[in-house]
Structures are given as C-alpha cells and as structure tokens.
C-alpha cells in the first residue's frame, strides 16, 4: 500500500520539546545593538542569536598598566567615604573603579538559558560572551559558527584574557555597586546600568571549553535542528567568515541580519538574494557611526598619520587584532610610498598578532573574489605579507623582548585594547601622551574616545577620531529592505529613532513599511506573525480513519489546536 503522506507529527526527540506555540518570540538579552544577544523561540526550538559582550563597562575602570607607572600618581583617592578608599580613584574630575575591569553580561534572568537549544554566531565580535553562556548557565546545546569566526574569535578572547591576566590585580571592587552607594557617586558611575551584571573576565580554560562546543559550518550549508527548522549561514560581507542566518521551516522564514556590509572590503560580499521572502527579518549590527563614511575616515586616518610622522611624531592606533586592521594595512601599503613614509616602521603588537596576520592569509575561501584570485597565482591575498617581508611591518607578542631591541621612532604602533584600559596600548599612552608631536588615532567605533582618554588627562598628544565602521548604514538598510521585502522587521529600539545627540537627523533611523517592531534589553517581543501551515506526517491508521488518500494540510487554529484539512474537502 502507498505509504501515507500526512501523519500526526511525532514530538521532537530532544529533551527540550515543549508545547507548540504558533507565535514567534524574541527575547532581548543585550542592550547594545551591535553586540546583540537575542533568543528566538520558533517552532519549538530555542535559538540564541549571537552572544555579544558589552565591554563599554570597562571605561569606568582604571587602566591596567604593564609596568607600575606614573599614571597612578596622577590619581588622588576619591574621598566620599573611607570605604571607597580602595575602590575608587579620581582623576581630572572623573572617578574610576580601581579594580580588574568587568564586562556587562547579557541578561540571564529573562529566561532559563539552559533551555537554549543552539547558539548561532554571526561574527567574531558577537561571540565574546560565549564562555559566560556555555560555562555558567547549564547550556547543553550546540554552537554554530564558521571556521574564521571561531579561529579569530579565539584570538580575540585569548588577547583579552592575556591582557587582563598578565597584570594581576589583587583588588576587586563591589561595594560601589550597592544601589544606595552608586546613587551618590558622580557621573558616569552614577549612571552606569546593569552593574549587577558586570563580571570579571573569563579564563582560558573556560574559553577552550566554550569553543569546544562549536560546530563549524560553511556558507549556505543547511543545518537541520530537530527536524523542526533548518538554519543556514549566509555571507554578510562584514568580516572574515561573518554570517547572517536564515532560520526556516517549511512555511516560515526568519532572517537574522547582524553585522553586514555592502562595501568592497576583504570578506566575501553579502548574500542579499537569499534574504528575500522572509516573514520576519531581525535587523541588528548596523554601523555605530552612521554619519562617518568609511572611505572618508580611511582618508582621514592616512592624512593624520602622515602629518604626524612627517613632523617627527609617533602614531598610536588602538585596535582589535583582526578586522579593520587588515584593510588599514592594505591602505597603508598603497599609501606609504606615495606619502614618503617608506622608512617609517609599522609595529603590530598583540599576543595574537602573528596568528591573526597568518590566519587572514589562509582563509582564502572566505575572502572576496579579488583576493581569492590572488591565491591561485599564487600570491598572498593580503599585501601585509609584503609589508612583513620588506620589514616595513613588524609584529610582536608584547612590548617586552624583541620589540624593545627593534623599537625605532618615529613609528606607527597598532595595538590593543581599543578601550585603552588594558593591553599594550596603556604603555604607549603613558609613553607618548606627554608630547604634542604624537597622535593617537581611534579607528574602532566601539568606545567613546573621550571616555577612553579620560584617565590619561591631561594629555598633550593629539587625538584623532576616525571610526571606521563598514557595517550597513541607514541608506543601505533602506535599499536592502526594499529589495528583500520582509513582511515584518524587528530591530533594537535605537534604530527606530534618531541618535540622541542628533535628534533632527530623521534619516538616521530604519525607515520601512510597516514600521519596524523594536525591542530593548530584557524585553520579550511577540511578533504579530502567526504560523498558518504546518507540514506533518500522518500515520496510516489516522489517515484511514479520516478517509484520506493523498494528503492534505494542517491548519493551526488560533487556540493552537491543529485542524487537518484535505484538499478534496
């Protein structure tokens, strides 16, 4: 006999099966739109979309100097109460917490994170909270990410842990977090939010344990989750291995767009076509500096760098060890000869500098077409290989060792961390901060440069802010949405209104019809979209009982019950 086409579905075999909910729900666990952490409940599955770590909290802490330095001498004890003697220090009118820096974790109380089935990672910047989720919440699921995302993410975590652990600080501060105490503190400590969620950095074993839970995926690879939904990563064009995700069932499609770029930089271009016909499009990770055109900023970066070096000064570029630095080095490769900077040494200092530069050259399949073509010549896809060969670019794991022997000024130093609170950058800020010949150029958009510089005041060195953020701007988003035409757009509330400092810029918000639905930290959003159809398998006996022969479909009623309907009815 012909096997039955439709049958009552079996419950998913995993332990987390639950009552079917026709709604799509989004739990927002992060308040930072470019470091998202959302949970999507869709078709009996609980999917965490990214787990970004908000590091702006570190700006409230004192820098961690590599060597005991003058910087501490500038501080006087904040004298509100004797209890704070050890915890808070004041400098140039700013009060800082004198302890190991802490990070603001995603919300953990909104839902039981042990129920999360899978975590989908979009790019290496959006996985920095992974150890906190996988190692502290009872998470037992699987994490999906592309290989470059995992490898470079590991480098970022390794650098972070290394930078903090190598300057052991006995002191920890928690008294100031008391609500009553915090209320009387001066800004910005007074206004710091979610301080109860601030945690110290994880350790390398925790990093390794978290990364061991990751399953590698390739672009367009279809991954079945419990037979209920299928997830697919797509190139997002933002960074090496960065992805957007399609989460779909037979009749529904949810697109998750996070950290995408339409600019021609080193990664594979963004796959827009696959986002078409989405029922829901969750939009995060847009540019943080919508008024700054990346091309203009690169020009600004080069101009200021050249001006400083020609005047005999040094340039400090606080940066992450991967990402925009590849593009900056490529620009400088083309620029230094024409600007007469051939003899100026470029130093890249990071515990993971070597790995980062080498990884970038071996992930050929994840690169843009031009760079892929180079690999077949064969040539290194990135020109920083030539800079290294010709000794124009030198990289070191830290300022100790070989670097001190090779160090020559004037020079350009790329080093982390962009917050200026830990890493080798702290040393250079102290070293060069007193001379107006030197310049610090901020290229990473994640931190307010004024806040980053606050503990170093008074500062004689020049400061230039040219944030390079290649992620989608609002004009590009508008075009993208017109192109892919999702039924519903969901985005952080920050994208639904002009930036607070530029309230007249109504062009700097997501503009679509119907208007986007917005969410904020610790909020649960139930999407208006309701599932209408469900593909099921039906057992022969049930089929016979209903007298059906060739199939039908199941209508989900508003009360969540199923109603089988035959095409012959």
């Amino acid at each position: 006999a012909k096997s039955p086409i439709l049958a009552v579905p079996e419950e998913p075999s995993n332990s987390l099966s639950k009552k079917r909910n026709p709604h799509v729900e989004v739990y927002c666990l992060s308040g930072h739109p470019t470091l998202p952490c959302n949970v999507l409940k869709f078709k009996s599955t609980t999917i965490m979309l990214d787990c970004g770590l908000d590091m702006t909290s570190t700006l409230n802490f004192l820098p961690l100097p590599l060597v005991q330095s003058n910087i501490v001498l500038y501080f006087c004890v904040f004298s509100v109460d004797v209890f704070f003697l050890q915890e808070l220090k004041e400098c140039s009118g700013h009060v800082f917490v004198d302890s190991v820096p802490e990070f603001c974790l995603p919300e953990t109380e909104l839902l039981d994170l042990s129920t999360v089935d899978v975590i989908l990672i979009s790019n290496y910047h959006c996985m920095m909270a992974l150890p906190y989720i996988t190692e502290y919440t009872g998470f037992t699921g699987t994490v999906y990410a592309t290989e470059p995302t995992v490898q470079i993410g590991r480098l970022l975590m390794e650098e972070l842990v290394n930078s903090i652990e190598r300057v052991p600080k006995a002191q920890s501060a928690s008294m100031w977090k008391n609500k009553e105490v915090q209320r009387v503190l001066p800004a910005p400590l007074k206004d710091a939010v979610e301080v109860s969620m601030w945690r110290k950095c994880y350790t390398m074993p925790e990093v390794n344990a978290a990364l061991s839970k990751i399953q590698l995926v390739g672009y367009s690879q279809k991954i079945e989750l419990f037979g209920a939904v299928q997830v697919t990563p797509l190139s997002s064009g933002y960074a090496l291995g960065s992805s957007n995700w399609i989460i779909q069932s037979h009749y529904e499609k949810v697109s998750y767009v996070s950290g995408s770029s339409l600019l021609t930089t080193h990664p594979q271009p963004m796959d827009q076509a696959s986002l078409k016909n989405s029922d829901v499009l969750i939009l995060t990770g847009l540019t943080q500096i919508p008024t700054a055109n990346p091309d203009g900023m690169v020009g600004e970066f080069c101009s200021n760098l050249a001006m400083t070096v020609r005047n005999g000064g040094n340039v400090l570029v606080p940066c992450y060890p991967s990402g925009v630095i590849y593009d900056l080095l490529e620009c400088l490769y083309q620029y230094i000869d024409s600007a007469g900077l051939s003899n100026v040494p470029f130093y890249f200092i990071s515990p993971v500098a070597n790995s980062s530069l080498e990884f970038s050259q071996i992930f050929a399949e994840w690169l843009c077409h031009n760079k892929q073509t180079k690999v077949y010549l064969p040539e290194p896809p990135f020109p920083h290989a030539e800079l290294i060969q010709t000794n124009k670019l030198k990289h070191y794991p830290s300022i100790h060792g070989d670097f001190s022997n090779d160090f020559k000024q004037p020079c350009v130093v790329f080093t982390g961390h962009p917050s200026l609170r830990f890493g080798d950058v702290v040393h250079f800020m102290e070293l060069w901060g007193k001379s107006s010949l030197n310049t610090v150029i901020f290229t990473e958009p994640d931190f307010s440069y004024l806040d980053a510089l606050a503990p170093y005041q008074p500062l004689a060195m020049k400061c230039v802010y040219c944030p390079i953020d290649t992620r989608l701007n609002f004009i590009q988003v508008s075009k993208l949405l017109k192109e892919v035409q999702p039924l519903h757009v969901v985005c952080p509330e920050q994208y639904t209104q002009p930036p607070p400092t530029q309230s007249h810029r109504t062009d700097l918000m997501v503009d679509c019809q119907p208007p986007p639905m917005s969410y904020r930290r610790a909020e649960v959003l139930t999407l208006p979209y309701k599932r209408r159809y469900e593909k099921i398998e039906i057992m022969p006996e049930v089929s016979n009982k209903n007298g059906e022969k060739d199939g039908g479909f199941l209508l989900i009623q508003p009360n969540s019950s199923y109603c089988f309907s035959s095409p012959f009815d």
Binding site: T291, A292, H504, R505, T506
Partner: protein
C-alpha cells in the same frame, strides 16, 4: 542658395518646400535643425525680397512663399501632434532670434494667442521651448517697447508655468534691460522663492529678513516641490545655476537681497551636511532630502563663490567661514565638493582681506587663516590624489591673491604647508606633481624672492628649488609636471625674480637646452615664450643700464643691439627659434616666427637686408642661403642634426644678424598661418570631390556624403 529668387521659386513652386517641411521631423537632429534653419532663411528672404509695403495680418499681403511657411507654422501649432508643435516652436525661436524686422511683429500677433494657450491649457509639454521662444521674442528689438504685448504674455507664462519650467524664462527676463519693473519682480520671485522657502523652513521665527515679500508670492507650489527628494534637488540645482548666472554678470544692474541670499546658501549647505536643526516640519523634510546631496552642495558653493564679489554680505562672515571650514574639515566631504569649497573659500578670503583693511578685523582674519592652513595641512596628506591636487590649487590661488598681505604670509610660513607642498614635488601622481610645481613656484614669491625673505628652514632653498624644478623639467616622464615647470620659469623671468641679467641669461640658456628636445609640444612652446620674455627684458634692461636718464641715440642704440645680440647668441636662443620654425607642431612655428619678426624689428628698424640687395656671396659664407632653403623645405630640424650644424653658426652674432635680415620671415609667417586643412577647405577641392563622385558614383558615394 537662399540669396537667389530663382532658387526660392524653384523650391516653392515645385514642391521642394514640402520636402523641407517633412525634413523638420527627420530622426537626425542635424537634418531637422538644418531644415528649420532653411525655412527661416526662406521666410526672411521671401519677405525681404518680395515685399515693398508694410505687411498686415492679411494673407494677401505676404509673398507666396512666406504664406506657405506661415500657414505651415499655424497649422502645426494648431495640430494635435506634439512633435509638429515643437517643430514650429523651434522654427519660430530661430526666426525671432535671427530676424529683427518689423514684419516679425505682425507674424507674432497672429500666433500669440495660440502660443499662450499652450501653458494656459497645459496641452503641450514643450515648456522649455515655450520659454526659449518667449525669451527670443522679448529680446527682439521689435518688441523692446515696455508697452508691448509680449510682457503680458511673459507675465502670464511666469504665473502659469511651474517654478522649474519658468526658471530659464525668469533668468532671461531679469537681465532684460527694458523689462517693466513688475515683470522683473515677478521673474525674481520665481528665482528667489526656493531660496526664501529654505530660509523660512530652517528658522522659526525668521532671524534674518526673508528674500521675498510674502505678499508677492505664494510658496505652496515651491514647498510641495521641496518636499520630494528628486524635485527638491532638481529645483534647487536649477535655481542655484540661474542665480550663479545672474551673479556672474558683470553688468547686472538689479540688486538682489545679498545678505538673505547668503544666509539661504549657508542654510542649504548646512542642510546638506546635516549640521542644521530645522525648526519646522518642512525644514525636517528638506533636511532629509538634502543630506549628502553632492549636486546641491556643488551648485550652492558655486553661487557662494560668485556672491563673494558682491557687497553687503559682511555681517554673516563669521558663520559663513564656520560652514566653509566645516566642509573643509569633514572627512565626509566628497572630493568634487571639496574642490568647490576651496574655490569659494579662496574668494571669500580675498573678500575678508578687503574688509580687514577697512574694519581692522585682522584678528578674525588671523584665526580663520590659521584654521584654513591647519586643515590644508591635513588635506595635503590625503591618500586621495584629487584632494591633494585641489589643495595645491587652492594654495596657489591664495598666494596669487594674498601674497602681499602680512597676516597671510605669516600664517602660511608658520604652518607646515610650505614643507608639505615641497614634499609633493615627488608625488606619484603626475597631476599632483604639476600642481605642486605651480604651488612651489608661487610660494617662492613669498619665500626666496621676497625682499624680506624669511628663513623657513625648509629642505629647499632658492638654489635647491630651482635645481629640483629643473630636474623635473628634464627627467619627469609625464608632460603635466614639465609644462608646469616651464610655465613657472616663465613667470619667474617675467617678474624678474631670477636675478641679474647674467643669471637670467644662464638660466634661460639652460632651460632652452632642456626643453628644445622635449617630446611635449606645449613644453617646447613654453620654451619659446621664455625666449620672448627674455628677449624683451634684455633689450629693456640694457637700455636702462646704459642710459637710464637719456633717450636712446643712434650710437647707444647700436651698442645695445650688439650687446643684446651677443646675449641671445650666448643663450642659444636662435638655434631653438630657427629649429622651431620647422617644428611639426604648427603653433610652435608660428610663435617662433612671431618672435623672430619681433627681433628683426629691433635689429632692422628701418629696412631689412633683403630690401637692400646685399650680394648673395656676402652671406653665403654664413650658410644663410642654406638656412633659407632648408626653412622653405620645412626640414631644418633633421638637417641640423645631420649636416646643418656645420653650415650655420647659430651662436655667431654676425650670422644671426644676417639671417634675420635676409630670410623672408613674412612669407614664412603667411605659410605657417594657413590652417592645416586649407587645401581641403578650398572651393577647388570641393569641386574636385564633386567631379570625382560624378565619374564613379558608386565608389565615391560614401566619401562624397
């Protein structure tokens, strides 16, 4: 042929005119336009040659051919075919543009109602043609009377056409010398209303006077156009282009509200870079439409530059420079917009200087200059070569206009700009090197060549700079930097910067030796210009040196001649001049010939040796006969290289004096001034072509066509 009655009759009587009517609609625009022009000629010739008394609107008064054409025009205008209407409008525009006879008024009276109906009933979309036609009619002397009916028609058109359609008409009418005041105000309203709306939308209540009296204008149409992005951009670009056109008219007599206009322009520029917080809903919409719109930015900056020459804008200087500096500083400024910003800034800095002199505003000037040079430093280091190039051009402009101003010189020399400019002499981009050469050349006027030349501590001193530029002239692989060097050398010599006569002689000699073999004809031409300047300066200087207080006598004149001839020979100018006579690039030959003719006038002020029948063997020994023969053949360059060098000594004053006296330079001059296609252009050549095509039609058909 339209100068001959027979030809006219032939066309009109035998149906030829119908063919021409049809050709007005030819798919080729050239053919259609020629057909239209031909009909205009026929109509004009017909009326002028076949009428003896003033014409009236009655058909019977007009010659037959004219009647046919006018009937065709009238029929077309009344037809429902838009292409026929457009053809007739084109024809009429040509007619009123070229013919100013009184009969055209009669013709116009017959069709004016029909023309007016086009915008009243909005049946025709060819509004730009209507505007052009009305302008031609209004500007025709036949209608110059202010009582003429044309002004009522113009008024009606300005009322009924949209601001975009009426713009070209308005700008033409405003400039009309005889335009009635009320029409002029209406036309100005069309032009200024968008600017007025911008101003009102930006601030509430209006801090400055608006551009228009609200009673004369209804802004609803303009506001609706400004509310949509594409129409907003189009309207503003067109309006700004018209305003620039008006402001650039040197003899424009209408006073515009310059202060409000300036305020409106800065408002537009602030809308475009998102710096302005609009105070009205319309302002928010306009702001959204204009943000990052490069077209509007460029147009507004053009008008801003043009406005710098008008008085009465001084109160807003502070905020104006704030806007300009914001554009100069912003990394988001597009390179083409930046170039326009530089141009506007340069013009307003000149204006600022004029005000500083009168109002003792030097502190403000000093601060602005400081800011300008700070941003210029950064722009000179830009990775974008267009930006470096524009920055250098800006610097050159500033030096040209402000080099005699102390504050400017101090600000410039205390900045890093001079050093960065000199660095750019080695820029990889040839355009930038060329601009750097020009800038360094002008910079020299306030560094090395200035009487109180400061010690700048730059890598180049005067000698090094000259050597560096000479190196570029002799070794740069691209033509632009070499052209720039020779141009700067010319300027230096013209302004007497090189030093004493001996220094100049050596300098010129060296430059000529370098440029005479240059592959770029413009560089060689620059070399000839250098000789021209040098020769006239030499003669003048010798006069002044030898007899500063007396007029030149015959004896002293002869001494000067000998000295100057000696100098020219030593500087090897004759070699280059005679060689250039046969240069494959005609302008060089012409220029060399002009210079030689000028020299001959100096050495033979009364008559030449040619006229005095000097015995041939007296100059044969000097190779002059050979030189003359070779010049006629036009092959001096090759022959000098092979055997000519042994025959004529271009450094021998006696030989050169003879050469100047004997060689028929006038004949050479006439030959060189014939255009290269003079043979092909001659009637004989045309005849030959026709004959050839008659002989073998098929083979020559294409060529003949």
């Amino acid at each position: 042929m339209m100068h001959h009655q027979l030809a006219l009759r032939f066309l009109c009587d035998d149906g030829g005119i119908d063919v021409i009517f049809t050709l007005q609609g030819d798919p080729s625009l050239f053919v259609a336009s020629a057909a239209s022009q031909l009909l205009v000629h026929m109509l004009t010739f017909s009326v002028e040659s076949e009428t003896t008394k003033p014409l009236s609107t009655k058909d019977g008064d007009w010659p037959a051919c004219a009647q046919m054409i006018i009937k065709h025009i009238e029929d077309s205008l009344q037809s429902s075919s838009s292409s026929h209407i457009e053809q007739s409008l084109n024809l009429l525009t040509s007619l009123f543009g070229s013919c100013c006879d009184t009969w055209t008024e009669v013709l116009w009276l017959g069709i004016a109602k029909q023309i007016e109906s086009f915008w009243m009933e909005e049946t025709v979309q060819a509004h730009h043609m209507l505007a052009k036609l009305l302008l031609k009619v209004a500007w025709s002397p036949v209608f110059c009377d202010t009582e003429s009916g044309i002004w009522a028609l113009v008024t009606s058109a300005l009322e009924h056409l949209t601001p975009v359609q009426a713009g070209p008409l308005a700008v033409g009418i405003v400039r009309h010398y005889n335009c009635p005041q009320d029409v002029r105000i209406q036309a100005l309203t069309v032009l200024l209303q968008p600017m007025d709306c911008i101003l009102r939308a930006a601030s509430q209540p209006l801090e400055y006077a608006g551009l228009l009296d609200e009673s004369v204008s209804d802004p609803a149409t303009v506001e609706s156009l400004l509310s949509s992005k594409s129409s907003c951009v189009n309207l503003l670009c067109q309006t700004l282009a018209h305003l620039e056109e008006l402001l650039s008219q040197m003899r424009f007599s209408v006073d515009l509200p310059y202060t409000s206009l300036l305020h409106s322009l800065t408002t537009i520029l602030q809308f475009c870079n998102g710096f302005l917080r609009p105070a009205s809903p319309l302002g928010s919409t306009i702001s959204r439409n204009l943000i990052n719109c490069f077209r509007v930015q460029r147009s507004a900056l053009d008008v801003l530059a043009a406005l710098s020459e008008k008085k009465a804008c001084d109160t807003l200087l502070g905020s104006l420079f704030d806007v300009l500096l914001a554009y100069l500083e912003s990394p988001n400024t597009n390179p083409t917009v930046l170039k326009k910003t530089f141009q506007a800034t340069s013009k307003w800095l000149v204006r600022l200087r004029e005000l500083s002199c009168s109002n003792s505003q030097w502190q403000q000037t000093e601060k602005i200059l400081e800011d300008v040079f700070l941003v210029l430093q950064k722009r000179l280091c830009s990775p974008c070569w267009e930006v470096r190039d524009s920055s250098l051009e800006f610097l050159t402009d500033l030096i040209k206009s402000l080099r005699d101003q102390d504050e400017f010189r101090q600000s410039l020399l205390s900045s890093e700009v001079p050093r960065l400019t000199e660095d750019l002499l080695e820029d990889p981009e040839s355009y930038v090197r060329a601009s750097a050469v020009t800038a360094v050349g002008h910079l020299a006027f306030i560094t090395y060549f200035a009487p109180e030349s400061p010690a700048t501590g730059n890598q180049y001193n005067k000698e090094n700079t000259v050597a560096k530029l000479h190196e570029i002239l002799s070794t740069d692989t691209e033509g632009f930097p070499r052209r720039a060097v020779i141009s700067i050398f010319n300027k230096w010599v013209r302004e007497g910067c090189i030093g004493q006569l001996e220094d100049t002689e050596q300098f010129v000699s060296r430059v000529i030796q370098t440029v005479k073999h240059d592959l770029d004809w413009e560089v060689r031409l620059g070399g000839l210009e250098l000789i021209e300047v040098f020769s006239s300066q030499t003669v003048c200087r010798l006069c002044v040196l030898n007899c500063p207080y007396t007029s030149v006598s015959a004896v002293t004149g002869c001494i000067h001649q000998n000295s100057s001839l000696l100098i020219f020979c030593r500087a090897k100018v004759f070699n280059f001049l005679f060689q250039s006579l046969c240069d494959c690039d005609q302008p060089l030959g012409q220029r060399a010939c002009d210079i030689l003719l000028a020299l001959r006038c100096r050495f033979y002020p009364v008559k030449t040796l040619k006229d005095s029948q000097v015995a041939e063997d007296s100059y044969a020994g000097h190779g002059i006969a050979w030189l003359q023969r070779t010049l006629r053949q036009g092959s001096l360059a090759q022959n000098i290289l092979t055997d000519g060098g042994n025959r004529v000594d271009f450094q021998d004053p006696e030989s050169m004096l003879l050469a100047l006296g004997i060689i028929d330079l006038e004949e050479l001059h006439d030959e060189l001034n014939k255009s290269s296609d003079h043979v092909e252009k001659s009637p004989q050549s045309l005849l030959q072509d026709i004959l050839a095509s008659v002989g073998t039609i098929e083979e020559n058909e294409a060529d003949c066509y």
